[in-house]
Amino acid sequence: MNDPDEDSTTPAGQRVHVVEEIEAHGRSLHDDELDRIRLATSRLAPIDAGRADLRAALALLDAQATVDVDVPTGSRVRAGSSVKMAVKRVTAWYLRYLGNQVTLLGQATVRFGAAIVERTEALEESTAGLRREVEGLAARVADLEQGR
């Protein structure tokens, strides 16, 4: 947090200048890998979504639809990693087969969800139009009943 009034002779003031240097340096750094990291990270940033936000729910489903069969093999136990790698090697063909089917199911579900979202939004739009029409008609009927 930069405080421009901070005295640069104090340790706290010197740290403010260090932060300014760091931020300036970091901002100046650009290459393909950094851009890829920035893009991938930003996808998980908080978004404003209400409970009934179908598009946010669909985005979440889309993000989770792919099954990752590349199981991590790290372990806290020394021999654990070797055991996990061996199991992974033995079961890779099976997991790939299963994973592909679940991924396809996920993708199909996303397509189905997208269709529902579009259909629902179209219905909401036409319902709003119909509501306006009905309100207009009701006003005309009321006028007619009153003999105007």
């Binding site: 947090m1 930069n2 340790p11 706290a12 010197q14 740290r15 260090v18 932060v19 760091i22 931020e23 340096h25 970091g26 901002r27 750094l29 890998e33 950094l34 890829r36 990291i37 920035r38 991938a40 990270t41 996808r43 998980l44 940033a45 908080p46 978004i47 404003d48 979504a49 209400g50 409970r51 936000d53 946010a56 729910a57 985005a59 979440l60 993000a63 989770q64 792919t66 990752d68 590349d70 991590p72 093999t73 790290g74 806290r76």
Partner: protein, 362 residues
Amino acid sequence: MTRIDQFLPGFAPHDAIGSHVLQTRRALRDAGFESDIFAEHIHGPMDRHAEDFRSYPATRERTFLLYHASTSSPMASFLAKRNEPLMIDYHNITPARYFARWEPVAAASMTEARDQLRTLADRVELAIAVSPFNRAELVEIGYRRTAVAPLMIDFDKYSAAADARTLARLQRAKDRGGSQWLFVGRVAPNKCQHDIIGAFAAYRHLFDPAARLTLVGGMTSALYLRALTQLAHELGVLDAVEFADSVDFPSLLAHYQSADVFVCLSEHEGFCIPALEAMHFNVPVVAYATAALPDTVGDAGILLDDKDPAIVACAAHRALTDCELRASLNEAGRARVEHFSLDNARKLFLDTVVPVVEAAGG
């Protein structure tokens, strides 16, 4: 004798609020008050310290109620309807927007908790906040009499022995080279572990391909955790990132003792004890300057206004390589830990609460 009873929705061991409530009870009893703890959910070994709030007597003379507000609970309306003077200690409620995308049910619960907090405003004699950030929230929603008294943290307990096996494992990893990043906090969208993973990937790309990251903390959202592992995989750092889940206290100590830098990019924290824990272990803190983090970290960390991955990576690199900066951060960190010492926090709490109780005839 005047009584000040505490109420909290969830009472769990090794939990920041639970520890604070126990310390608060000790401070109140030492100051000559009677004080007991009542909770909605009492976890495991804490049942010897607390009773179910539904068993609270219908009326009590010369009694004040202190409610620790942090989540939605039927306790809020229970306390609002009672006749005893009510105080709250506000630990913060995560804004629903952080959970809306991942856990809509949890998001609804957070919205409800904020509604409850709002309805208590007119009923409360004194609203204590554990940080100036929390106090600003209370003022904004209509609380009139507010004060800041930080969490009571017993830093002596960090002198206990660290878990030897965890320490040895982390040391073996260290011996292979590369610096060790650490973050401690629940795996939750407001803690923004995705930003830490992004910054860590940038750090490995720019400075230290052998670096490792440990994320200690229990899971709040399974979907968010899955998205984090996918992100780490996509960025090619999955094998260097350890999702350590919640760990026991000796293992936590081992993680702090082995860490080279503590990186916190949370967007919403009501206090952030882990930042102080890192300072206690002379681990430099790099943090995003938002919510209560500037209040807690003060001038004892590298506080960034921008958490772009490259900027955070540069900050961590500077904290790890600039010896002068590191020494100055360590010194400021020790002062910060002393500022939040148990004695100081107890005194501030009692100086805040006792005059209100005395003025009300307690």
